[in-house]
């Protein structure tokens, strides 16, 4: 029996890829007023971003309960030797803590789960999960899978050009990106998750220059092991950028994906960016 790979919905892993690689995805929750939605299950991105822009109530997000993980782990344990559970940076969410607690609880039932804090988000996490799933399919042991996950995570990057820092600030996740607010001039910030926290890494004066900068950040990081272009509300533009960057993708094809509601809550409409893993 092989090992099972679990991640959470902040990986923004497109459904077909999760299915293809046999990755189980546990949803976080988005709360709009008194309604709670499961990320990517109960609320469609189109509807979500429209409501986010209407700006009446600002959504909040919450981690899955340990119970949700326990149920999944028990289910997977019936057909797997061990489970690796890969999660969003513990510095911005309690998801990893919840998974780790669940792993601890099922241990008594003889179920082995390794929860890994990847310090990543969105498709940077998603690409790590895919890499680990490939290794698992190739017969990797749980220990080997954990090593693989750590190696991939350390080489992964999640970066995005945002229209405004407003959403990050409203959501209380502004972290070290706040420094960019110091500027009195209008700017388009480029953010990255560094050591698991949001940092402002660049400032562009216009969106088009920001996009050019995003592309050059990918070019500078090449050679790559995996690449996925990300957006919240610009599917066509994301596809175009993915084509432009395909030369840097290992098999000549860069993925494109949309940020789900949880990560989207903090980056807002108009975000463009990428998740990537540098080659070893």
């Amino acid at each position: 029996m092989a090992i099972a790979v679990v991640t959470d919905s902040t990986s923004d892993l497109p459904g077909e890829l999760a299915l293809q690689y046999g990755i189980s995805v546990v949803p976080l929750h988005v709360n709009f007023g008194d309604k709670t939605y499961r990320d990517g299950v109960d609320i469609e991105p189109d509807e979500f971003y429209a409501r986010l822009q209407s700006g009446k109530t600002f959504p909040t997000t919450s981690a899955p309960s340990s119970g949700a993980f326990i149920e999944l782990y028990q289910e997977l344990a019936r057909s797997h030797d061990g489970i690796i559970s890969l999660h969003l940076s513990s510095k911005v969410s309690a998801t990893y803590a919840s998974a780790a607690q669940a792993a601890e609880e099922v241990r008594e039932q003889g179920i082995t789960v390794e929860a890994v804090d990847t310090l990543q988000a969105s498709m940077a996490l998603g690409l790590v999960a895919i890499g680990v799933a490939k290794a698992a399919a190739g017969g990797a042991s749980l220990d080997e899978a954990v090593d693989k996950a750590k190696s991939l995570s350390s080489r992964a990057t999640f970066t995005g050009l945002v229209e405004t820092l407003e959403y990050l600030q409203k959501g209380g996740r502004i972290g070290k990106a706040q420094a960019l607010l110091g500027s009195l001039l209008r700017i388009k910030p480029i953010l990255a998750l560094v050591d698991g926290e949001a940092h402002g890494i660049e400032r562009a004066r216009t969106r088009s220059r920001g996009i050019a900068r995003i592309k050059s950040l990918v070019a500078e990081a090449a050679p790559l092991e995996a690449l996925c272009v990300l957006h919240t509300t610009d599917p066509e533009l994301a596809k175009e950028i993915a084509e432009d960057l395909s030369q840097y993708a290992p098999d000549g094809k860069a993925l494109a994906a949309r940020l789900g509601p949880v990560v989207g809550t903090y980056l807002g409409p108009g975000m463009l960016g990428f998740g990537m893993i540098r080659a070893e």
């Binding site: 008194d34 706040q178 420094a179 001039l185 004066r205």
Partner: protein
């Protein structure tokens, strides 16, 4: 609590000790979670002291029981109620005292420390707490008390044991707290739950743990339902109050929080409550007969004390200025947010830039991550080599990039660079606008070579222009301008002349910008903000699609400076 499994038993002569254990656990639980409770406190006054008030109230009770505890629970609970009333601090402390009063009445009525006794006490507490406040509001501790009373009575019918009833009540308390923002707008606006109610829920939970013989009161408990909060890592919690809310309370006047006890004869809390409610806000009056406790928020604490003096002897007087507290609390939250946001100030590269005009100086400072030294100077006031050299020496790194921001200052800057021992690169910025564009690419943590390459690229892309009044007739670059007329210069070439600055701006920008462009207009010292906004609005119409940003530059000599990116 020697035999925690035996919790459904009826009267025991040692239940006074059980009550003491509850008090100890609850006090410890509040002490553990005090900071969280303080941070949540926005109602009735956002002064961040609910946790502290509840802790102090509980300590007063605990200390009293440490001095003496009677095995008889009804005697002990009466002591608890009196100590709570005397020691009550703040609104939350006084309402908490109502809980202990309810418990004491229940036990005095012959109930034991049992599921029944607890439920009865909870019901009495809820009723007297609502009466202690002139205008009871839902979404506060009052609601938590009432729903706990309902839940305890329901639980009693399922299974009578104390542990079961308290467990159900504790769970209900957390659930009610979770829903408080739906009931009280100020909580919803601030993005928090009711602080006092949460404190009470924490107390009940610690009581259940104590009953089960578990280690009680040592865990940090996340406020329920704040989907933001449980999902945050510890330490970031304090920044969770919405910034709009912090700003909105800055100007509010709260007056003095005035608390005192009155000892007299035949005291009527009802009439004192009405009196205090007329004098101030958030009045809570508790007690009866020979002892009552008053809490009121009031502009003139003397008025409340005088009213109290007419009734009897005053004691336990505590007055503090809530305006100061509220300000401190708000700025504390804001500072916490700021501290977290500070970048690690690891300056690898520093900047010296020449600038003139108040607005420009601010812009350069704000864009420079605190690693910028400004040298005052410009067209009509070129700084000396010594001025620039002094700034380079002062800059917070051995690697310094100089932005001269004027074509006439580039040479001076290069001389200063040669004279310094530091590694100095002069980026030949020819205008303040291009200097700013360069500075936006700057990162203090990056090495000087990378910084200067990226900054150079950025400043070379932008186009700079100016509008000023001609001081003499001239024919330049094929454009004729008369003395006193406005002239427009773009990329250092005279391109337009006219009788108004707006006319010149229109001429010089026609055909130079499109939807992709960002036009930034910096108004000079002679142009006020209104004129700047009007100019931008008119330009936006004539240059359809272009994005325009306006800034008060405050520069002398030029009515407008502009950049096209």
């Amino acid at each position: 609590m020697t035999d925690p499994s035996d919790t459904s038993r009826s009267t025991r002569r040692t239940d006074g000790f059980l009550l003491r254990d509850f008090i100890r656990c609850a006090t410890r639980a509040l002490e553990t979670n005090r900071d969280t409770l303080n941070a949540l406190n926005v109602f009735p006054v956002p002064d961040g002291d609910t946790g502290t008030n509840m802790v102090l109230t509980m300590r007063a009770i605990r200390d009293e029981l440490d001095r003496h505890v009677d095995a008889n629970p009804s005697i002990t609970s009466a002591r608890i109620a009196r100590a709570a009333l005397l020691g009550a601090r703040g609104n939350s402390g006084l309402i908490l005292a109502q809980y202990f009063k309810g418990l004491a009445e229940s036990l005095a009525d012959g109930y034991d420390v049992s599921g029944e006794g607890f439920a009865r006490g909870m019901r009495i507490a809820s009723e007297i707490a609502y009466r202690a406040v002139p205008k009871p509001r839902e979404g506060t501790m009052l609601t938590v008390f009432r729903e706990c009373a309902d839940a305890s009575e329901r639980a009693l019918k399922e299974k009578p044991g104390l542990e079961h009833v308290m467990t159900v009540a504790a769970d209900q308390a957390m659930d009610t707290v979770r829903r408080t923002p739906e009931m009280l707008d100020v909580l919803r606006d601030a993005g928090v739950v009711d602080s006092g109610g949460f404190g009470f829920a924490i107390m009940l939970r610690s009581g259940v743990q104590a009953l089960r013989g578990e280690e009680a009161g040592l865990e940090l408990i996340a406020p329920p339902g704040l989907s933001g909060l449980p999902d945050l890592t510890p330490g970031t919690r304090l920044t969770s109050i919405r910034s709009e809310f912090l700003e909105s309370i800055e100007g509010e006047a709260w007056g003095y929080c005035t608390v005192f006890a009155v000892e007299g004869v035949d005291l009527d809390p009802e009439s004192v409550r009405n009196q205090m409610d007329a004098l101030g806000r958030s009045a809570v009056v508790a007690g009866s007969g020979t002892l009552i406790k008053v809490h009121v928020h009031i502009e003139d604490p003397g008025a409340a004390l005088s009213a109290g003096l007419k009734l009897g002897t005053l004691s336990n007087i505590d007055i503090h200025n809530m305006d100061e507290q509220a300000r401190e609390w708000a700025s504390g939250h804001a500072a916490a947010a700021g501290e977290l946001a500070e970048p690690p100030v690891q300056v690898t590269t520093a900047i010296v830039c020449v600038a003139i005009g108040e607005g420009f100086v601010e812009l350069f400072k704000s864009a420079g991550y605190g690693a910028v030294v400004i040298v005052s100077g410009g067209d009509s006031m070129n700084p000396s080599t010594a001025d620039i050299l002094a700034a380079v020496e002062k800059a917070p790194s051995d690697n310094v990039i100089v932005l001269p921001n004027n074509k006439n200052i580039i040479g001076t800057a290069q001389q200063a660079a040669q004279l310094s021992e530091k590694e100095v690169t002069v980026l030949p910025t020819r205008s303040m606008q291009s200097g700013l564009a360069a500075l936006l690419e700057f990162s203090p943590e990056r090495e000087i070579e990378k910084n200067s390459a990226q900054m150079e690229e950025s400043q070379s892309i932008i186009r700079s222009g100016s509008v000023s009044v001609a001081i003499r007739d001239a024919l330049l670059d094929g454009v004729a301008v008369k003395r006193g007329q406005y002239m427009g210069v773009l990329d250092e070439r005279l391109v337009a002349a006219g009788n108004s600055s707006l006319d010149v701006l229109k001429q010089m920008l026609a055909g130079q910008v499109d939807e992709e462009s960002l036009l930034t207009l910096y108004s000079g010292a002679s142009v006020d903000k209104l004129a700047l906004r009007q100019t931008a609005a008119i330009l936006a119409k004539s240059l359809r699609g272009v994005e325009i940003e306006t800034q008060s530059g405050g520069q002398p000599d030029y009515d407008f400076l502009l950049s096209i990116e």
